[in-house]
Symmetry: C2
DNA sequence: CTGTTAGCGCTTTCAG
DNA sequence: CTGAAAGCGCTAACAG
């Protein structure tokens, strides 16, 4: 403890072993800790001169408030937890960027975690946020359990991209069914009758919605769907390429609708490796526009989503909820749009 | 306070307004808080049966330790802060993924922040980590000030990708000079004598190293370098394309070396827009291999970096430092490798 | 406008 | 092996 040394007038440049505390700066300015707290946190009455001395002392000594102490006392923090499935996937990265931007403007700290689409990791993340008394959490849910845990403990959660929670909470999603419908209808209108669907095998509403849209377009066009053309992939698809290759070989679709950017990438590689030309031999449509799709030749027709806006909306929803915890759960649904490029054409 | 209700034998399923505390579970198991602490945190003697009762009570009541209280008491946490320039850039995303993986294995929590290459945001991030008593921080530095701040307060920092700190700290970088040298030498060996360099205008060691390698290759090949071919771009390059376009128009280079993935992407777009064929009209080499480079036609010759390994190394360095704070600062340097693809050929 | 007092939830001596 | 007591740094009544 620094009561052993004389505490007065020390130059603030020594390599401090002990971080400086509010008490230190109060003493340096000749006030009590409470006054210092009021001055520095900006709430409560403090005389202008006291405040000035305090502020001066604070930045002379390089004071950094101890977040733990504050959180412990106030029983809440300004941290908002965010957990996404895969930080390395551009979709989630852009989502996070959107969230962070809005959160920052509202003076909240984003804490980002990846869960590799593992429900266990997701729960661990939720517990970590609980432990640090995060004010709220935004997530692309894997299982619904994490959200339940959080909600049960009273932390606000908003789900993005997918909606899985059984507990009531806000969510913002894309109109997946409509996006998939548009993509599929486009293919069908071009005259394709053997359209393959590449979709992730989960309970997630996103993939379910995309499959529904795919089916609905078939139904409305009166095209019978061969179930073998629906290929489901595990979340971590190590052998996706082989599976796609087999699909191509055995069922000879004339068009492929890949329902996320990773599957589209895999499909594209398989097509190239097999020497199949786009769009002459096979047409390809993706879901979620990422830069490469516009760069390859031919460019890929895709259902584009407002990814960053998705993030911003989620953050806004959370902010609103923190403001008014009692308001009824809200679901926002953003519209995707079909961008037609060179990878789709009538079957030959 | 829950002293007002009878605290015994409550089912743990009510929507708890107040999170359950260690004291709650101690009471439920009929011990003192100290014993509960010892049992649950696993250090100190506790009888097997007491521990069993405590553990049972803890997960019956859904106990989540309060991280703030623990951090406050122990004066340190298990959080490692990570701040990168741009979460949306695949390079940084993969870097973060590598870091997180290694950190997780060592049971540390990664807290990720983006600073948009703004020194002010970087400092704000550093302060946030200071405030939450992060054990260490890993960053792709923008200015060196943040690192100084951190180091002065005694938190371990390791710089990744670039080295800017004036304070002594660990770092792990790529051999940028060598990578750029190889790329440039390749172009020169092909017979190009008007090679343009696209580089970010910063003090960063990464870009400086790349420029040096570029110059060194020219010197060794005995090719005189026209300074107009060296194009420097601000970190946030809004008009990069115009600048590149002008470079092409006015100085007619026969090859371009774009020293990061974003500049390569911009250059590629400009080339395409102007109808310049790769590699017939112009050769292009990038730095930092990202997926699209292998997908476009022709594929892009590039200096590939071990990005995830860079992250893992940084995390390992930090872990080592936490173990042994006194060890001398260490600089690890990883080797990049030139991947020759179709975008480079002799000038026509 | 300011100081005193108390306590957030946890860990850690220190006695038993 | 266990409990009592103290205190981490901060904020929020509550008197002055």
């Amino acid at each position: 403890m620094n009561a052993t040394q004389h505490p007065e007038e020390e130059e603030g440049r020594a390599p401090l072993a002990q971080p400086v505390t509010l008490t230190d700066i109060a003493r340096a300015a000749g006030t009590s800790a409470s006054t210092a707290s009021r001055a520095l946190s900006g709430r409560g009455y403090v005389s202008a001169e006291a405040r000035a001395r305090l502020v001066a002392a604070a930045d002379r000594l390089g004071y950094v408030p101890n977040a733990s102490a504050r959180t412990l006392k106030q029983r809440t923090s300004r941290v908002v937890g965010v957990v996404v499935s895969d930080i390395g996937n551009q979709f989630y990265a852009r989502l996070a960027a959107g969230i962070e931007q809005t959160l920052r403007e509202a003076d909240y700290q984003m804490m980002l975690l990846g869960d590799n689409s593992e429900s266990a990791e997701e729960i661990a993340g939720a517990r970590a946020f609980l432990a640090m008394r995060a004010r709220g959490v935004i997530m692309t849910p894997v299982s619904g359990d994490a959200a339940s845990l959080l909600v049960a403990q009273g932390v606000a959660v908003v789900e993005v991209d997918r909606q899985l929670a059984t507990s009531p909470c806000d969510a913002v999603v894309i109109d997946n069914e409509r996006g998939a419908y548009d993509a599929t209808a486009h293919l069908l209108a071009l005259g394709h009758s053997k359209v393959a669907l590449l979709v992730v095998d989960t309970e997630w509403t996103s993939d379910a919605g995309r499959e529904q849209g795919f089916r609905k377009a078939h139904a409305e066009a009166g095209v019978e769907l061969d179930e073998r053309l629906v290929a489901r992939f595990p979340v971590h698809a190590p052998h996706a390429k082989e599976r796609i290759e087999r699909l191509l070989r055995e069922d000879a679709p004339t068009a492929i609708f890949a329902s996320n950017n990773l599957l589209a990438e895999q499909a594209w590689h398989v097509l190239r490796r097999r020497g199949l030309r786009l769009p002459d031999d096979v047409s390809l449509v993706g879901f979620d526009d990422v830069p490469w799709m516009e760069m390859v030749d031919p460019a890929i027709t895709v259902v584009a989503q407002p990814t960053e806006e998705l993030g911003r909306s989620a953050a806004r929803l959370l902010l609103r909820r923190l403001d008014d915890p009692a308001s009824p759960p809200r679901l926002d649904c953003l519209q995707p749009s079909l961008v037609i490029r060179g990878s789709t054409a009538p079957p030959s």
